[in-house]
């Protein structure tokens, strides 16, 4: 057994990633591409809970099992990053157009998905490891923020994607509308009533668009109308919806009296933003703490 006392290292890590990629071909061939849409609530919350229980178990097992010790170590970090890098490179070199085979729909390609799940697992375990040492130094604080932040972003962005609603609402001046249409053509009642009072488009002297703005009155649950101007980069937030200036009557141009708003509701967004802010704070701290240097000893 002595020979196999430390069977998991950098090299076996690269092989593990290769095995994972091959394994991913199985569901890809049998069941087809990963269906992110099937993760809608409550499936995503159940999966997240199971995943967190698994991570806690893996953390507790780290002294008994060399596999779980490795899974939260730099020797797993390097090959998991490398494999994700390889798949993302292929994605960057291949036009991502639905219907163009496996590689043309990389985010649903099982080998890609499995490698990113592996990466997320490693990031999660490394985060727990650093949390247990957080009192020791600012470098540990930085490591917690970096890894936990990335973990939260990866988990919430993927598991939460199915709960995100993105709708288009078409408005004509003077009309009040409460329904909006999703990408697949389904009509939803948004619970809002939106009246477009005026659509303004300004152009530069050379004809390039300069500003689009929709003058609207929006009534939400409370029933009270809120007057607002929605323009590009200046969305309106109401009742959990964010309303964006999205489109206009391109044929009519400046004379147009129609505006398309995009309505987005993403219940997981605050968590993702929490993760993003942790990563920003962690990266900031990292500049002062630097790398832990083993070769300097």
């Amino acid at each position: 057994m002595a020979l196999f006392s430390k069977p998991f290292n950098l090299l076996t890590g690269f092989l593990f990633g290769g095995g994972l990629a091959l394994t991913g071909l199985l569901p890809q061939i049998v069941k087809g591409p990963a269906r992110w849409g099937s993760l809608a609530f409550p499936a995503n919350v159940i999966i997240l809970s199971l995943f967190l229980v698994f991570l806690a178990g893996a953390f507790l097992m780290r002294r008994k099992s060399s596999f779980f010790a490795w899974l939260g170590s730099p020797a797993a970090a390097v090959p998991s990053i490398a494999w994700c890098l390889v798949f993302t490179l292929v994605m960057g070199l291949t036009a991502q157009v639905p219907g163009r085979g496996w590689l043309g729909n990389m985010i649903s390609f099982w080998p890609f998905v499995l490698c990113y799940i592996w990466l997320t697992t490693v990031v999660g375990l490394v985060a727990i490891n650093h949390i247990t040492r957080v009192g020791r130094s600012w470098r540990e604080v930085s490591a917690v923020l970096n890894h936990l932040g990335l973990f939260v972003v990866l988990v919430c962005a993927t598991l939460g994607s199915a709960d995100k609603r993105t709708l288009e609402m078409t408005l004509h001046e003077g009309e009040t509308v409460s329904v909006a249409v999703s990408e697949d053509g389904t009509t939803y009642d948004t619970g809002l009533s939106v009246r477009l009072d005026d659509f303004t488009m300004e152009v530069y002297p050379n004809g390039m668009p300069k500003r689009f703005a929709s003058d609207v009155v929006v009534a939400g649950k409370s029933g009270k109308g809120t007057a607002a101007v929605i323009e590009v980069n200046k969305p309106l937030k109401i009742d959990g919806w964010k309303m964006y200036q999205y489109g206009y009557d391109e044929a009519a141009g400046v004379e147009g009296e129609m505006s398309i708003l995009q309505l987005v509701k993403d219940p997981w967004l605050p968590l993702v933003f929490g993760g993003i802010f942790m990563m920003i704070a962690g990266a900031f701290l990292m500049m002062f703490t630097g790398l832990k240097r083993e070769d300097a000893r």
Partner: protein, 260 residues
């Protein structure tokens, strides 16, 4: 203050930067080098401030105006790194980088009147681009360090050489992270989605992963210096593709909204 005055401010700044860089190469007069170089930065900044006052808005809206800030921040970055880690070549490097953007601004003044599409009219625009440029400067310096270690240096690589590369990468990676996340926050504000796997975003992720690979490889295999340096070169190739190479990639040209 108008753009016509730019060439004079820039000329004085560049002369001071060159003088500071020469002093740095001598290796002895560090305080003098930083002082002279810093004076150049003050001269350059005074032009930006004057523009700000005369335009009655921060000069951050056009590409030319943001290039002003790249030149400024690259010089600042060079001075910080030089003061802290004392690399002789750092001031020359950052001065040349700044000069490139100054020359572009002098040769392409028509850009200043160019219109800005509504999506770009955001307070995120300048910080997003400026922190990316600062990061690219740092990672460019790290690449020079890798080439120096792998190709030009005759003597054995030292722990200090590796520490230099590590420090530059850590700073560059921190700013790369800021740039990417500011982009995500901006995209959320502009389009209601923080990440859409647009080819530019995909390549930003590739570049970020490549530098993460370097950092983690340094931790996992602290003594394998040569391999680390090769990872650094690979990462810089990814960075270049992300920055401008993407405009020539068929896969990106077809679908990206981020080609400019």
């Amino acid at each position: 203050m108008s753009w016509d005055a730019f060439i004079w401010f820039a000329a004085v700044a560049v002369i001071l930067w060159a003088a500071g860089a020469v002093l740095a190469w001598t290796g002895k007069k560090r305080t003098a080098a930083v002082t002279v170089y810093g004076l150049g930065i003050v001269v350059f900044l005074s032009f930006i401030v004057a523009m700000w006052v005369s335009l009655e808005r921060p000069p951050l809206r056009t590409m030319g105006e943001t290039r002003l800030w790249y030149s400024f921040f690259l010089a600042v970055a060079g001075m910080i790194v030089y003061s802290r880690w004392k690399y002789k070549w750092m001031l020359s490097f950052s001065a040349v980088m700044s000069l490139v953007f100054i020359v572009v601004n002098l040769l392409k003044p028509e850009i200043h009147s160019k219109t800005l599409m509504p999506a770009l009219q955001s307070p995120w625009f300048a910080p997003h681009v400026i922190v990316y440029m600062f990061s690219y400067g740092m990672l460019g310096a790290a690449t020079l360090m890798a080439l120096y270690v792998l190709i030009f240096k005759k003597e054995k690589t030292t722990v200090a050489d590796m520490a230099t590369a590590d420090n530059l990468v850590v700073t560059g990676l921190a700013f790369l992270t800021f740039g990417m996340l500011f982009g995500a926050l901006w995209a959320q504000e502009a389009w209601g989605t923080y990440w859409a796997w647009d080819p530019k975003e995909t390549w930003a992720a590739i570049t970020w992963l490549a530098y993460l690979l370097y950092i983690h490889f340094r931790i996992a295999r602290p003594k394998e210096w040569e391999t680390s340096m090769w990872i650094l070169l690979l990462a810089f190739v990814c960075l270049q593709i992300c920055w401008w190479g993407i405009n020539y990639l068929p896969s990106a040209r077809a679908t990206s909204v981020h080609v400019y």
